[in-house]
């Protein structure tokens, strides 16, 4: 039987983050999207860790479930030209650090430094940064309210980033 203590066990929380990245690396995007709450957001701020909010400054991506679903549905289309050849990605995660736990609110926040590699044909793009997961525990288990990706070099000029960092 799962106890409250088990839910907030740092290993359980870090496992969620690792599993989330593994779903992206495996291209299991529908299952990945299901890890979000209804109000969930995926956010890559243009000013990286320095950015206070998604409105006063631009973002490389700031997407609710509707836009995330659009992105995933598009990738299923045979006419998604930019996915020929198909892109693949690999998240290399450092150990997650737990920034905050609110047992009463059944929520937790984690920071996970990462290296992200996206390949396409002969091309390879490497990004580094820190993912910040805001999680809430639901009847179905831990879910993401927000996955924020703070890039090391957020305002560099980038080629196309095809998948989810």
């Amino acid at each position: 039987m799962t106890t409250e203590r088990d839910i907030f066990d740092p290993i359980v929380l870090a496992d969620f983050v690792a599993e989330e990245a593994a779903l992206l690396d495996a291209g299991r995007f529908d299952e990945w999207l299901a890890l979000y709450t209804i109000e969930g957001r995926y956010w890559v701020p243009l000013a990286g860790a320095a950015q206070a909010d998604p409105h006063s400054h631009q973002s490389l991506a700031f997407e609710d479930r509707l836009l995330l679903q659009l992105r995933i549905d598009r990738m299923k289309s045979p006419r998604a030209h930019s996915l020929r050849p198909r892109s693949r990605c690999q998240h290399v995660l450092q150990r997650s650090r737990i920034d905050a736990v609110d047992e009463a609110g059944r929520s937790a926040t984690l920071s996970t430094p990462f290296v992200y590699i996206e390949t396409r044909g002969e091309l390879q793009l490497t990004l580094a940064g820190t993912c910040r997961h805001r999680l809430v525990h639901t009847d179905a288990g831990w879910r993401m309210c927000e996955k924020r990706v703070d890039l090391l070099d957020p305002d560099r000029a980038y080629p196309a980033i095809q998948l989810f960092i």
Partner: protein, 441 residues
């Protein structure tokens, strides 16, 4: 082997009435000539004065391979300097933006310059007595650009001494900037929220050409549009949409829509696409804001501004403007096969914050390195850059709608799918590049 250097006629021959030669996109030699003789001779967008609000503020920009500084002066003016110490060539600053204080100081040997570039002081001054320093360029301070025009706070420069004057060069297309600025009831824009920057591995002219390509969305953006339509299925046509849907769904318009939106060409390669309407025309109306515009500009001018939501105005060769949403793209050639594309958002002062949200949302959805709309564009541009190397056919077709009567007509209106807007760009390109090589005024 050099085929184009010193041979302006060979450049002119790259552009026929209805075709353009692949060397215009592929040749490194043509690119070097463009950087030296075309970009320098024509007027390029450098920046917006709102980037440098306080005296001493600067932004560093590279144009035609030359590092430049746009600097706010103590008297409020904006000047553009070459970012090169007159002594040994060190860049005075290497941050992309900042404040220099009251003067620039070279980090190498401590030569100092006023904000306008005039020499201030240097160490071991006595060592220069009796030398020719004061009489040569090295003694005259930082070189300031002589040809800088600030048009409604948009800063344009011409690097070369010889070339067309600003007003004659842009002519009527400047109304596209007026349209965007006048969307502010105060007549003032602020560049805000940062700039999305993309590296695209294609020739810059291909990117500019696509800005006027109304026939690609149907097939290029099919995957993004179908996904959006699938998600919005079942909603009534007049139901208010989330902003993202309001901005993406119009990409699904058909050939007929794009044809009817119409286009206008101006001399020197400029154009406005969507002179009747565009994919931006259907954004939700904001009655209080429209009243504020009428109060500020009068009913007639307000009506004119709001009626015109062009798809894109191109201020050839560096700037594409969308009056609504307040967004611009800046095109910076880096190599024959590499182009920097920047997407800027503007806040229209005195207008509701929703307009700024629209600008940021549109840029993020359509011009971010993570945009699902841009992914397919960029993939195809990069595909063209490789595909053009193949086979015996040297030419890219620009035939659609060609009519010999269009030659030499100057400003003209046409249907929205006519490739005249692209032919017009290439004609101006060949004309100015060849003239630049000849040193013609």
């Amino acid at each position: 082997m050099s085929s184009y250097r010193g041979n302006p006629d060979a450049i002119r021959a790259l552009v026929q009435d209805d075709r353009v030669h692949r060397d215009a996109y592929l040749s490194d030699e043509v690119f070097e000539l463009e950087q030296r003789h075309f970009v320098t001779r024509t007027w390029s967008f450098l920046g917006h004065t709102s980037q440098v609000p306080e005296a001493g503020d600067y932004v560093a920009v590279e144009l035609a391979g030359q590092p430049l500084l746009m600097v706010r002066q103590a008297d409020g003016a904006v000047r553009v300097l070459h970012n090169r110490c007159a002594h040994k060539g060190t860049q005075l600053v290497t941050d992309t933006a900042g404040n220099a204080g009251r003067f620039f100081r070279c980090p190498y040997h401590a030569w100092t310059y006023k904000l306008d570039g005039a020499p201030l002081a240097l160490p071991l001054k006595s060592g220069y007595e009796g030398t020719g320093l004061a009489q040569c360029a090295s003694g005259r301070g930082l070189e300031a650009l002589k040809h800088v025009v600030v048009y409604r706070e948009f800063v344009f420069v011409r690097l070369a001494d010889v070339g067309p004057e600003f007003d004659a060069y842009f002519g009527g297309v400047l109304a596209a900037i007026d349209n965007m600025v006048d969307r502010s009831p105060e007549g003032r824009l602020t560049a805000a929220g940062g700039v999305l920057r993309n590296i695209v591995h294609c020739n810059w002219k291909m990117y500019l050409e696509n800005i006027n390509d109304t026939v690609h969305p149907v097939s290029t953006h099919e995957s993004a549009v179908q996904a959006a339509q699938g998600l919005w299925q079942g909603h009534a046509a007049d139901e208010p949409k989330p902003m993202a849907m309001e901005q993406i769904l119009p990409f699904g318009a058909g050939y007929d829509f794009f044809d009817r939106m119409g286009g206008r060409v101006y001399p020197n390669g400029h154009s406005v696409l969507g002179i009747h309407f565009s994919i931006h025309s259907g954004y939700a109306q904001l009655p209080e804001y429209e009243q504020a515009l009428r109060d500020a500009h009068g009913a007639e001018r307000a009506q004119q501004i709001l009626e015109r939501s062009a798809q894109n105005a191109v201020l050839f060769p560096s700037l594409a403007v969308k009056g609504s949403p307040q967004a611009i793209r800046v095109i910076r050639p880096l190599a024959a096969d590499r182009t920097l594309i920047e997407a800027w958002s503007f806040r229209a002062e005195g207008a509701p914050e929703l307009l700024f949200e629209r600008a940021q949302s549109y840029n993020r959805l359509v011009f971010s390195p993570m945009s699902v709309v841009a992914h397919d564009d960029v993939h195809l541009f990069e595909s063209i850059q490789r595909g053009l190397r193949s086979g015996a056919n040297d030419w890219v077709s620009l035939h659609r709608g060609f009519d010999a009567a269009e030659l030499g007509r100057g400003t003209a209106e046409t249907n929205g799918t006519n490739e005249l807007l692209m032919r017009n760009q290439f004609r101006a390109w060949a004309q100015h590049l060849a003239a630049g090589m000849e040193g013609a005024p």
